[in-house]
């Protein structure tokens, strides 16, 4: 994969479209700093995350990047509220009153069962917790990796609205990846990831180590 230049301005909401395996997730992980590019730079709010050390990149990600995953990736054994509070504790320990922030983030998304263990929540509720966790730290950018892939069309539309609304409320740029063409109508900025692919399918793409 080779990206010459790709900008997502602050507050913009972009859809990274493309079929499965074209490198959407890899691109998203590069932006999140959980994979590193072979060369080049990735700037978030003026900071080149490729120049940061491993630990500094983790801290930067916690503070400035919120992520939503297709399978939510909530921490089992913790309640909905605790999952959101963990994000504050690890990513934004300087923000005051973490409990109140976490409760507010969940309630804004219509999630009222704060003290239920996440593994007992419905898919819709888990989605809300995952989104709340991503935006509670007031990040610069929210990255959502195939957030609708495991949902039916009606729920998919709701989920995208949820994420878009939350990102906007947090004042964050939003990048959503999806192979689902039906999402295209919701976004004005659409990036076709297939264009970054090298002519021959490269197995080395995105290998972090």
């Amino acid at each position: 994969m080779e990206v010459a230049r790709l900008d997502v301005p602050a507050g913009e909401q972009a859809l990274f479209a493309g079929s499965s395996g074209c490198g959407k997730s890899t691109l998203l992980h590069l932006i999140a700093g959980i994979e590193t590019p072979e060369s080049g730079s990735i700037l978030i709010g003026g900071t080149d995350i490729c120049a940061l050390s491993g630990g500094a990149r983790d801290t930067f990600r916690g503070r400035h990047v919120g992520m939503v995953f297709q399978t939510f990736q909530l921490l089992h054994g913790f309640t909905a509220l605790e999952n959101v509070m963990l994000s504050l504790m690890l990513g934004a320990p300087t923000l005051d009153r973490p409990r109140i922030r976490a409760e507010a983030a969940l309630e804004r998304l219509g999630m009222l069962e704060l003290h239920a263990p996440v593994e007992r929540l419905s898919v819709g509720q888990q989605q809300r917790v995952a989104v709340a966790r991503a935006v509670v730290t007031e990040p610069s950018v929210v990255l959502a990796d195939e957030p609708t892939a495991s949902l039916d069309p009606a729920n998919a539309a709701t989920a995208v609205e949820l994420i878009r609304g939350a990102a906007q409320a947090a004042g964050a740029a939003l990048i959503v990846t999806s192979h689902d063409p039906s999402l295209r109508s919701a976004f004005t900025r659409i990036v076709d990831v297939a264009q970054f692919g090298l002519p021959a399918p490269a197995p080395r793409v995105g290998a972090a180590r």
């Binding site: 801290t59 990600r61 990736q73 054994g77 963990l86 966790r133």
Partner: protein, 464 residues
């Protein structure tokens, strides 16, 4: 939940989510720690039991074959000494040096297998079974006249003896069911009255009975004069006229004094005793020391002087027990080594428990990393988890050992009258617990490194 989350919350939740693995690993550490502590304390109790029994004695004289045998027989009642010392020899030794005290002892009789020591009343006032703590009576007093007996705590508890009871002693140390069991021979026409019960001392003396020398001499003199062949009853258990016939149906208490033998008894009074009938088997000696000191240069000098007399054996009990413990010490380290192996295997099980749950943990680690935790922080969380298992396991194990030791010593003291001290040495407990915690942390290193090196992306993809 509190108002804030901390790394410790993550650790505790993580342990709770994997409750089974956590429980098994914690239990293994607890068992290993308890086992190690119990083994160490048994070792300590055994050596203490030996060290205690020698009390404040400096020198022990007997006619046994070796000094170690002399100590085991004379102070720990292993066997009745086979060879006697004459009263003349005792007088000679007593007058040969200004001893602090010089106590004659005579072993050979028994009561239901418990040894009976004939001695002088000084034994209760001067000899201390445990240096610094003299004998104390839980009931009654020391013997003052002939045919009075003082009973050790364990014997009193074992045979439910009380002050005022009459008991019959047996010649020889038969270990059978009755006082006059095979190999023994009852002194049925001379019952003894229990006049005192001793408090437990935690030494072998708890298992013995004590009478005065004169009674013992009288009984043996009468028997010798009745059976002029000179053979002891031990060698003639089937003697037709043996007094044991009179009371074989009775275990030896109470009624035994109602003897009515048809034959004439050669009753002997104290004044009639001939010198050669006054035999003893041991002499306990203490050399005068300065207050606050237990040693004196004279101990070695007197030891050397007495040793020149080839008719007797002289022992320094403390030294002999030291040699004995050195012999046993090599063996019991094996037990300690075994317990250490148990501890090591429990460390391995912590490691296995944590590695086996690694797949689950890898997802957790990846999520924590995405949320902003550094690899080092995740490493620290994993180490803390295993250390916590070690800490809790060690705590439970130490509590088990201390509680178990307390229950065991209490039961032993109440039911058997044996005082075992030094149940669990707190220093050993701390050391073992610390060792367990360190081992647990070390066991946590491998899973922690795995967590540290977990690539985030691979574990966030949906399961294909």
């Amino acid at each position: 939940m509190s108002n804030s989350m901390s790394d410790m919350t993550i650790v505790l939740r993580s342990l709770r989510t994997r409750a089974l693995a956590t429980g098994v690993a914690t239990g293994l550490v607890a068992i290993a720690v308890a086992l190690l502590l119990v083994l160490l304390s048994l070792r300590e109790a055994a050596s203490q039991a030996f060290r205690r029994g020698t009390g404040n004695i400096h020198l022990l004289v007997s006619a046994d074959a070796s000094p170690l045998v002399a100590v085991l027989n004379g102070l720990f009642y292993a066997n009745a000494p086979a060879n006697p010392i004459s009263w003349v020899k005792f007088k000679e030794i007593e007058d040969g040096f200004p001893w602090q005290w010089c106590i004659p002892t005579q072993l050979g009789d028994s009561y239901f297998g418990s040894p009976v020591m004939a001695t002088s009343p000084d034994f209760f006032t001067d000899f201390e079974p445990v240096a610094g703590s003299p004998f104390q009576f839980s009931d009654g007093r020391a013997f003052e006249a002939s045919f009075e007996v003082v009973v050790g705590a364990a014997v009193a508890a074992d045979r439910s003896l009380k002050v005022g009871q009459k008991i019959v002693l047996a010649h020889g140390s038969g270990r059978g069911s009755g006082a006059g069991a095979e190999g023994g021979h009852e002194h049925a026409d001379h019952p003894y009255e229990v006049v005192g019960i001793l408090q437990p001392t935690g030494s072998a003396h708890d298992r013995a009975l004590f009478t005065d020398l004169v009674s013992t001499w009288i009984i043996h003199a009468e028997e010798k004069r009745e059976h002029p062949a000179g053979a002891s009853a031990t060698e003639q258990p089937a003697a037709p006229k043996g007094p044991s016939q009179a009371s074989t149906s009775d275990a030896g208490q109470e009624s035994a004094h109602e003897h009515d033998h048809a034959h004439d008894h050669a009753h002997v009074a104290e004044a009639d005793l001939r010198d050669e009938e006054k035999l003893i088997t041991g002499i306990l000696l203490r050399i005068p020391t300065r207050p606050g000191s237990d040693s004196s240069a004279s101990i070695a000098a007197q030891f050397d002087r007495l040793r020149r007399d080839v008719s007797i054996t002289v022992a320094q009990p403390a030294q002999q027990i030291g040699r004995l413990m050195a012999l046993i010490g090599d063996i019991d380290w094996l037990f300690v080594a075994m317990a250490v192996v148990v501890l090591l295997s429990s460390a391995a099980s912590i490691m296995l428990a944590m590695i086996s749950s690694m797949e689950l943990r890898r997802r957790q680690v990846a999520i924590l990393r995405v949320l902003g935790a550094s690899a080092w922080r995740v490493f620290a969380l994993a180490i803390t988890e295993s250390t916590l298992i070690g800490l809790i396991g060690a705590g439970i194990g130490a509590a088990l050992a201390i509680l178990g030791g307390w229950v065991a010593t209490t039961l032993l003291a109440e039911r058997v009258g044996v005082v075992v001290t030094g149940a669990v040495d707190p220093r050993a407990a701390i050391l073992v617990a610390a060792g367990a915690v360190v081992l647990a942390s070390i066991a946590g290193i491998v899973p922690a490194v795995k967590a540290y090196r977990t690539p985030i992306t691979r574990h966030l993809r949906p399961l294909a």
